[in-house]
Symmetry: C2
């Protein structure tokens, strides 16, 4: 049975199989070795994710099996400012951290051997957000700021440290490239194909650090080049 | 537990999560409702697929569950000419048909309620194949021809009729568009993003004809817009 890689998150996860998406790229990377399972819930914050994690994971693995890894990628919605157009999605930072803790504890309890990878919220391009007005706010101010998202990113990293979990700091990673605002973010928040590529590479790297790679997961059936075409039963017989 | 859509085939299936791929587009289409499971085996013909189908499907569904649908998309390799560079992959047409019959019987027996969708081999752009020499053949002739692939497509359609299975005639469909050779095929055989789009649309249409669509598969958790954000327990409580 093929191992599973589960992607749990908000719209940046739900949309990860769009053209150029990081989820699709992962599925392509592991096309012969692992199943990528999509559990993305657009608009969700950690308060809601915490309420549904058990049902979201229901049936992902059965018969006592565990996924190889689960990415937990929330916070972009929690980090909506409490007094702007995204207020209904806002979650205070300490609650965000506690919700993440609860989600990871649930996963750890259910699947003790599974690698849980936290991903921080992405950086915010406020100019991009202003061009994509959100909610019913006519203040002319963005509903998210990069600074506020950064505080949630730090809280996510602190929780990862506390819980001894691997974390991808996509907030910092993206900002280490000049021009990140437009090259990685399509609307100041969601990812362009290039932004998706950055996250894909970070996830592949983190999985590899944790022992999950094309080198370590056995292929389920022989490559064409390894089949004895004169005697396929020899290569492919049970 | 989310329903599953399984993609079983050769390289055009294995590569279906590359950028613009038809598998990724399906996973995106059903991102909140169904899991797309990739079982693509580059280079495989039906002779080898028949030998491995049981193992390829092992663990895809457990505990008595069945996939909603399985696409069976082979023949591009069977239809290599027997005396050219792809000879080791060639399978005679009657054996191709018999292998397909065996694969579908296995699936039907294991999962009587699953919709099995046959897909014919794609058309061949011989000029494209000549520009991508294959195997150890220096004849200057392509290892596949469109006419030969068409015979396999007809055999596939005949089997679908005999077995009362839905079939996507991608060989004919693509050729109904002018300029199909270059716009749908990147190397005379594999699909461009536009070619992937055509197949994606055909699969969505065929699934819909068989009662599988966004309208008929229930969403597992509420959309953000349906959550009472003042009382999330009401919308999201168990």
């Amino acid at each position: 049975m093929r191992p599973k890689l589960v992607l749990f998150g908000d719209s940046i996860t739900e949309g990860s199989f769009m053209e150029g998406g990081w989820g699709a790229a992962l599925a392509n990377q592991f096309s012969r070795t692992a199943d990528v399972v999509l559990r993305g819930y657009s608009g969700y914050n950690t308060r809601w994710a915490r309420l549904v994690v058990e049902r979201a994971m229901d049936g992902v693995c059965v018969g006592g099996a565990s996924p190889k890894a689960v990415t937990v990628f929330f916070g972009a919605n929690d980090a909506c400012l409490p007094d702007r157009g995204g207020a209904s999605q806002h979650v205070p930072i300490l609650e965000y951290q506690d919700n993440l803790r609860s989600i990871c504890s649930f996963l750890k309890e259910q699947w003790p051997t599974t690698i849980i990878i936290l991903i921080t919220p992405p950086p915010i391009d406020e100019d991009g957000r202003l061009k994509n007005p959100y909610g019913n706010d006519n203040s002319g101010l963005p509903e998210r700021t990069n600074e506020f998202a950064g505080a949630y990113a730090k809280a996510c990293i602190a929780l990862a440290k506390e819980s001894d979990l691997p974390v991808i700091d996509i907030w910092s990673k993206m900002q280490s490239f000049p021009g990140w605002e437009k090259s990685f973010l399509s609307d100041g928040l969601h990812f362009t194909a290039l932004g998706n590529r950055i996250l894909f590479e970070e996830v592949v790297l983190k999985l590899k650090e944790k022992g999950i790679s094309l080198e370590t997961i056995p292929i389920d059936l022989p490559l064409f080049s390894d089949i004895d075409t004169n005697d396929p039963h020899k290569s492919l017989g049970k």
